[in-house]
């Protein structure tokens, strides 16, 4: 399967009469058209749209998801299959990417949901989305709407917006600045390619714990799947989508699913010192039986691949640490060497145990940092969304939001700050 990502560089965003990318890299967006495209009167009372650029004194909260605008221009199916497009399998052909742009969704709080993105200042150092040019959609739910329906509506609107932007750019004749090619052939060839190089696969854990803690694969709630294999290219076409934003620091936004850095890093070393043979997705369910079933099943697939090594990434913390350790333990027992990517909850002083579970076999761990670390976010001139909820979001506390508009909060509340796909450069040491 071969996929070419045609990347159009976006350096800024502004409103305009036509949705297109100008020669200087500015993405112009027709606001009226965009909003008409995502309107959903049944579920959403209002949708607003704003722009947030890197370096601006802007705060976006509460953030639900970030999505990279992409649109398939050649090959089967269309981006975000099973969600806003047909269910056909994707991952081949050509896909246009608005590189440097993101759709960020933001909405009135329902339960405990959150995420803060600051485009400048201390907070901007920790989130990937202070570096993207963002089109922000702000939602207000219809009165009396049921929470699951509201979450779904926000999710779909974000995906629609992302696809709309990329589609318009393509139709307006936008030309890519860069093309990247990703290819792994069928097993008959891939398994025998590069003899002498160790076979490595990626075990991709997806959070599946209920409202605002869910992930979708081809539109299916991943709670309901058995672990299975997926071609890495499918993730680039949005086959995996986020419904997950609580404790924003380590939830995988759709954007990071589309730009999975583990997949990128494995492709980079492919044929050099490893043979990257495939990806296995698995879930993090809320019963012990499901955890046991999924970990055994996922490791069994890895065994069927005959891999020598497995990179395992987690999503979330707490009970999913048990899934992580189970996956590691079972793989190591089956003779597969593992490296885990996780984040830590070591307390504000960094002195507490970082993970809820542990095992001596987990001897190769990369950390995305301690999410309990306190940061003080300076006041921002403009707030997109609503700040009243800062005190109650996960990572916030009584008195988080100060009268002057600054926020004292744990990293936990900053979107993508400790992403366990290893998206960021943050780590931690024992001192």
């Amino acid at each position: 399967m071969k996929l070419e990502l045609m990347k159009v560089n976006v350096k800024s965003v502004g409103w305009g009469d036509r949705t297109e990318v100008l020669k200087d890299g500015t993405l112009k967006v027709n606001k009226k058209e965009l909003l008409a495209h995502v309107t959903d009167e049944e579920n959403l009372k209002s949708i607003g749209a704003e722009i947030a650029l890197p370096g601006e004194s802007v705060r976006i909260t509460p953030v639900k998801d970030a999505i990279q605008p992409r649109y398939k221009i050649e090959g089967c199916g269309q981006v975000f299959p099973g969600m806003v497009s047909d269910v056909e399998s994707v991952g081949e052909g050509k896909t246009l990417v608005l590189e440097g742009a993101a759709v960020v969704t933001c909405g009135r709080i329902v339960g405990f949901q959150e995420g803060i993105v600051d485009m400048s200042g201390k907070g901007s150092e920790y989130t990937p989305f202070s570096k993207t040019c963002n089109v922000v959609l702000v939602f207000e739910p219809q009165e009396g709407i049921e929470v699951y329906a509201y979450e779904k509506a926000c999710r779909l609107a974000g995906l629609k917006a992302a696809m709309y932007l990329a589609k318009c750019v393509y139709e307006s004749g936008g030309t890519p600045d860069k093309t990247e090619t990703y290819e792994i052939p069928p097993f008959t060839r891939s398994m025998n390619a590069f003899p002498g190089l160790p076979k490595v696969a990626y075990l991709y854990m997806l959070q599946t714990q209920g409202l605002l803690h869910d992930t979708y694969v081809y539109g299916i709630d991943a709670k309901r799947i058995l672990p299975t294999m997926i071609h890495p290219n499918e993730t680039m076409d949005g086959a995996i989508v986020s419904g997950n934003c609580v404790s924003a620091c380590d939830k995988n936004s759709t954007y990071v699913h589309q730009n999975n850095p583990v997949i990128r890093s494995l492709y980079e070393r492919h044929g050099k010192d490893i043979n990257f043979v495939g990806v296995i997705i698995t879930n993090e369910n809320v019963t012990l039986a499901d955890k046991r079933r999924s970990s055994s099943y996922a490791v069994k697939i890895a065994g069927m691949f005959g891999v020598d090594g497995l990179v395992i990434s987690e999503e979330g913390f707490g009970n999913p640490d048990a899934d992580l350790i189970m996956n590691c333990h079972k793989a190591e027992k089956a003779g597969i060497k593992t490296v885990l990517i996780t984040d830590e909850f070591a307390g504000r002083d960094g002195a507490s145990q970082s993970l809820a579970d542990a095992a001596p076999e987990a001897n190769a761990v990369v950390t995305a940092g301690n999410a309990n670390m306190i940061v003080v976010l300076p006041p921002m001139e403009r707030v997109i969304g609503f700040t009243e909820y800062v005190n109650v979001i996960a990572g916030g506390f009584d008195g988080s939001l100060k009268p002057d508009g600054s926020i004292e909060v744990e990293l936990q509340a900053i979107t993508g700050a400790t992403c366990e796909l290893g998206f960021n450069k943050l780590g931690a040491e024992t001192w």
Partner: protein, 76 residues
């Protein structure tokens, strides 16, 4: 918390879903729960049926509290 309370000499039984975590961390008396969002319930059942499930788990909990143990024990 379980271990800290038990350190004062009071017997504690931990009703939880992720038994492996409880075991790793070191609770001594463990009773498996139904699921994370509803440890003593089951929204797919009627309220009456849920109370029966709840009773079953609590009976096991009392049993665990009555049982002398030398090491970590899961009461299934």
């Amino acid at each position: 918390m379980v271990k800290a309370i038990e350190s004062t000499g009071i017997a504690v039984v931990h009703i939880c879903t992720i038994v492996p975590i409880s075991q790793t961390v070191g609770a001594n008396r463990i009773v498996p729960a139904v699921a994370i969002p509803y440890p003593l319930g089951d929204p797919s059942k009627s309220r009456e049926e849920e109370k029966v499930i709840r009773r079953g788990i609590l009976e096991k909990a009392l049993e665990a509290l009555k049982t002398p143990i030398r090491e970590q024990t899961v009461f299934n």
